[in-house]
Amino acid sequence: MAQSDQFNGRLGLIFASIGAAIGTGNIWRFPRMVGANGGGTFLIPWLIFLFAWSIPLVIAEFAMGKRSRTGTIGTFRIFAGKKFAWMGLWTAWISTAIGFYYAIVAGWTIKYFQLGITGGLTGEGVDTTEVWNSFLQSPGQVIFFQFLVICLTLAAIWKGAKAIEKVNVVLMISLFVLLFMSLFLSLWMDFEDGTLDGATFMFSVDFDLLFEPEIWINALSQSAWSCSAGMGMAITYAVYMRKDEDTVLNAFTMGLANNSISIIAGLAVLSSIFAVSSDPLATVTGGSSAITFLALPEVFAQAPGGSIGPFVMMSGFFLALSFAALTSMISTVELCVRNFVDHGYNRERSVAITGLALFIFGLPSAIIWIKLDSSGVAFPEFLEVQDHIWGYGLMFSGLFIAFSIWKYGYLRWKAQVEAGEAPGGLKGYLGVGVSAFRDDFINTGDNDIEVGRWWDILLYIAFPILFTVLMVSYFSDMIANTEDVWNPANPKGLGIILAFWGVIAVSFIFLNKYLIQRPIFRNIPEGADVDISTLPGGQDDKVHQLGDLVPGFEHLASDDVVFEAEAV
């Protein structure tokens, strides 16, 4: 039997998942959302949606990945059926497409860490806008740091789960330490002027605002995007779970850790900006990258402690930011690589190909359409358009997961009705069908926490409602505020999004029939409970376990490792 790839310890999985969840969104998006949405008021819906949206979805993802033991394509092939393998392809594509430009964004953070170290952001006469513009407008620099990020990422995942685990543990712990350091200095700054107004604002609730739908929608979007819930990361990392892993506890830990970091980062950013800026909320509600690369360097330059404070603050913060970006980058690439490996490709080669693709397809975002906005700040429009198109596409991955769960519940109930084991009608469906996924894949006995009926309610009722609210509000907002919104040539419009989605979805659905011709190999740890017979894709004879002898893929089974394993 071929040896499966696994995380060493439970904490390894947790750190990897947290690393995937925590990205730049926690550090630069969260403070902006808090600032723009009434401070502490925002935290209430934000926390509610952590439990109503993010954690249930992550539980589902972990449960699916742990059972299917494949990446996103295999998981959908098994959980939603042969015809729906393209959903996994969609999930993988969206993640990878985001990776194309995210590598560049991660590169920016490393560049700013470098600037922090070398003191390029402090001192007399430093204009942060100038620094930013000249950096963004020199393709060589941007590409260099993009390349650096891709190399670091590839190095981290080259060897598979154990390496990913080690890198994530180190980076995440460093991130905690660095952020706490920044937080300490920020609070000091904020307190120096006599009031902790930044911290106060962040935790002050305006109950009138609580009735504004916009606050809730924003909180939902923050929760949905920042936690990576429903995006396939948890599916991918679940592949490397040990056989008796507690998926529920992991999901809670990952979600809470994500929000913990958000709070620390938010507090650090808001405190420092409130300490320095005359109109802090105008500063904080600017674009995310504007806050980070224009406002914060100015703010940090005024940190206490002579030249040490600014230095520590600047380099520490941007190092933390680049760690957050790198760990997210790692999960993005791994999501893609995992799918290749599932289909019988050599891991190293898959990693190399993915890396090359990231670099090449990322280049346009790095160098073309670098424009100046009305206030003279450079921004990468091509990158922004990419984000515009694929960012919303992420939400559909979550919908596909919910779809798989709904489908499984319905089929299980039908099967049991036919077998005479379950009552028909609505009552039977609600009793057996709705809870089928939870009974069969979540409450497997490995969990300390038994997941109750609440999860069904959230997945069957809350999720579709919230999904609809989110999409409708975003799109109606876009339609209301964008000129010429349906023109596919308008990079800010809805037309371009629908056009790209349409092309991708149609071609993936077309590719589906070729995709399922190819055998797939599940990464099952020894002795794990991996019964998939009740699943729509459970009867697929092309779904194999790693180590099975498959015509044309004998090399996988005849790997040295396998022989060694058999020899033992």
């Binding site: 935790f203 002050s204 605002l209 809470l256 921004f379």
Partner: protein
């Protein structure tokens, strides 16, 4: 440049050859633009002489429509009834496309159902009807009005009536409409004529056309040496009537006015009185024989020699008693007891009783009516005041008196029988009557003191425009002295016409030397009244609204912001009939916030709310000053923008009128102002924040701790179990 300019002048003085004189206007016209621009740029300390700029004709007040020696047509001598009539007939002959000459009207059944013949409009004494000119484009076309007798009636052309010489001795009131007639005749179709010979055309129309507060729009008078700036000798430099002031009006404007209006020009209403004043009462030269007096009224025979006053050439005029003051004879509020200037007993001629000396009878308003017009056996129970005094459902149907004279009947029937569009309302939306003297512009009401008409501020607005043009005083008529039965009270009170009385000049029999420049000074009035004849009310509202043009608070006026609603003020003219209905008068505002859908990587994006409306209310605690220096009313609108919104507020205002006719936008260019909006709310209380912090931290960090602890306990358990198992094996 100045050296060049001097050369020909020197030449002119030393060698005035004929050829050169021919060329002079051309040379001057070539140079004057340069001169004018020099003047505009750097006010020369010495100034220019008139010869440097204007044509000789202009300098010497030679009008282009007549030979220099024709004193009457050059406005160096007064028109008599005969010269006026001859000239009018001549002009009508020469300009048959725009002028149609008339005397009186044909008559027929008038608006009150009375049968009237043409002789009803003939003066009692000399038997002349008032000559008048119908002026409009294609005057022979259009509809024929059998009662009035004129052609050229077009439903889509607004009518305007300009009347001179209600009062016989006020000779300038004939000259001004006659000048207007000459100017129309000369200017119609004569586009871009250079009136002052300075090489520029239409550079200085009537009034302050460029709105800089100076009448001399082209600055040619101001550019003169000081001694040339007061050519009319009235003590005002570069005032109206001075050379170079409003001297080059637009012929295009006049042409279009003639094309779009029907002008009824009646230069001498009171022919009887005028002839009598000139030939009998004030033997020439009248300015010496009657320096401060003269014959005022018409020549009604008040001495009861017959059953009714009859034309009686044999009988001499009884100067103590005869005559009716035509401008007290109109029916609206006729005879309202208004103190010393009115007759003591309406409808009586006191001197005829042989008891009084006639000190009152110069303003005798005509006999009391003795006819029961509605045949209800009650006499004079509902006089003309726009109200149904007797409550019988009819209004003003049995009047006390007034419109008893041929001249006032003429005005009445012309007004009431001239309904081109058949809507029953008077076509004359604006009317002007020239009088002299006092240098005033007057407007209704005259019959009441301390009263204001419904259009008070609108009337005042146009009055001010005309007063600006002439440098006359702008007054409500009764503010000078109360009068009843005057032309304007009747026109406005009965027919809603915006009616103005100009009190021209400084004497009844103004010295002939002053005719030309006083006529020129008042020339613009008749054109202004014709211009506004389409909708004077709306035009006034427009004008009043424009006074608020720059008075909507700009962002700098609003800052710094305090908490709560954001007040936006606008200063409006008193009398501008703004509506406070929030649907038509409001501040439109929208909030521009950082967009919710903001990209993480792009520039700041804005999300714009839809425009909302916030109504105005009067802020009586505040005062404001209009653009023209008058006090205005502060309207304030409180924009309900929450304190916790940061971003931008876009705002603009709209004011509607009570009549609903107009909507005015501020700023006037249709744009909006952008107010930078800071976050104004408190950042929150420390204790509340601490509590919330504990809740959130407890939830998130506490939850995380619990999870990690469960996990580690689990882990330890397993290791423990595994360790035991290993030991066991």
């Amino acid at each position: 440049m100045s050296a060049n300019r001097k050369t020909p002048i020197v030449a002119l003085k030393t060698r005035p050859s004929f050829g050169f004189l021919i060329c002079l206007p051309l040379l001057l016209s070539l140079m004057t633009p340069m001169v004018a621009s020099t003047i505009a740029q750097d006010e020369p300390t010495t100034g220019t002489a008139p010869e440097d700029v204007w044509s000789d004709d202009y300098i010497n007040d030679i009008f282009p429509w007549a030979p220099a020696g024709d004193d009457i047509l050059q406005f160096k001598q007064y028109h008599t009834y005969d010269t006026m009539k001859t000239r009018m007939m001549r002009l009508a002959e020469e300009n048959p496309d725009i002028f149609e000459y008339h005397e009186g009207m044909n008559g027929g059944t008038n608006a009150r159902g009375e049968e009237v013949t043409a002789d009803a409009y003939e003066g009692w004494y000399y038997g002349h009807s008032s000559p008048w000119m119908k002026i409009t484009k294609d005057v022979q076309g259009g509809d024929y009005n059998p009662f009035v007798g004129d052609n050229g009636n077009y439903p889509d052309r607004h009518d305007v009536m300009i009347v001179g010489n209600h009062h016989a001795r006020e000779w300038m009131s004939v000259q001004v409409p006659m000048l207007q007639l000459e100017v129309i005749a000369f200017s119609y179709g004569n586009i871009a004529y250079d009136n002052d010979g300075d090489g520029l055309v239409d550079e200085d129309g009537w009034g302050d056309t460029d709105g800089d507060g100076v009448l001399d729009d082209d600055g040619d008078c101001i550019g003169m040496a000081t001694e040339y700036q007061d050519s009319n000798g009235d003590g005002v430099n570069c005032g109206p009537g001075d050379h170079g002031v409003d001297e080059d009006y637009s012929e295009q404007f006049i042409t279009e006015l003639v094309n779009m209006r029907e002008i009824y020009l009646i230069p001498m209403l009171n022919t009887d009185g005028n002839i009598y004043d000139r030939e009998v009462f004030c033997p020439a030269p009248a300015w010496e024989t009657c320096p401060s007096g003269g014959w005022r009224k018409n020549l009604r025979d008040n001495t009861f020699t017959g059953v009714t006053p009859l034309p009686d050439l044999q009988e001499d005029v009884d100067e103590d008693c005869d005559g009716v003051d035509l401008n007290r004879n109109y029916q609206f509020e006729w005879g309202a007891p208004l103190g010393a200037t009115g007759p003591l007993i309406p409808g009586t001629c006191s001197p005829s009783e042989g008891e009084l000396d006639g000190s009152n009878n110069d303003v005798y308003n005509g006999p009391v009516d003795t006819v029961d017009q509605d045949g209800d056996n009650r006499l004079n129970e509902d006089h003309v005041d726009g109200k149904d005094d007797d409550g019988d459902g009819l209004t003003d149907e049995d009047w006390l008196g007034g419109n008893s004279e041929p001249e006032t009947k003429f005005i009445q029937d012309m007004t009431e029988m001239n309904d081109d569009d058949g809507d029953g309302a008077s076509e004359f939306k604006s009317t002007l009557t020239h009088h002299s003297y006092s240098e005033l512009i007057l407007w209704p009401w005259g019959h009441c003191t301390d009263c204001q008409s419904p259009d008070h501020y609108q009337l005042q607005y146009h009055g001010q425009k005309m007063a600006d043009m002439t440098l006359y005083a702008n007054l409500q008529s009764s503010s000078l002295y109360p009068t009843s039965g005057d032309f304007c009270d009747w026109h406005y009170g009965v027919h809603g016409s915006y009616c103005y009385t100009s009190e021209i000049g400084t004497a009844f029999h103004q010295h002939p030397d002053d005719i030309d420049h006083i006529a020129v000074r008042n020339l613009g009035l008749g054109f202004y009244i014709a211009e506004i004849a389409d909708n004077p009310r709306e035009r006034a509202d427009d004008g009043l609204a424009q006074l608020s043009a720059n008075l909507l608070d700009e962002p700098k006026d609003i800052l710094p912001l305090s908490k709560g609603d954001i007040p936006v003020d606008i200063c409006v003219a008193n009398g501008f009939d703004y509506s406070l209905d929030g649907d038509v008068s409001h501040v439109m505002y929208r909030i521009v916030k950082p967009s919710r859908a903001q990209s993480d990587y792009g520039p700041r994006e804005w999300s714009t709310t839809a425009w909302s409306m916030s109504p105005f209310e009067v802020d009586s605690s505040d005062t404001c000053t209009l653009g023209n220096g008058d006090n205005g009313t502060v309207l304030t609108s409180s924009l309900p923008i929450p304190d916790n919104v940061a971003g931008e507020v876009h705002y603009k205002a709209m004011l509607g009128t009570l009549s609903g006719g107009n909507l005015y936008l501020f700023p006037t260019n249709g744009e909006y102002y952008v107010l930078e909006l800071d976050y104004r709310a408190d950042y929150g209380g420390l204790f509340g924040a601490l509590f919330m912090f504990l809740v959130v931290a407890g939830f998130v960090w506490g939850g995380l701790a619990v999870c990690l602890r469960m996990m580690l306990v689990d882990e330890n358990d397993k290791e423990f179990v595994e360790a035991i198992l290993e030991d066991g094996s």
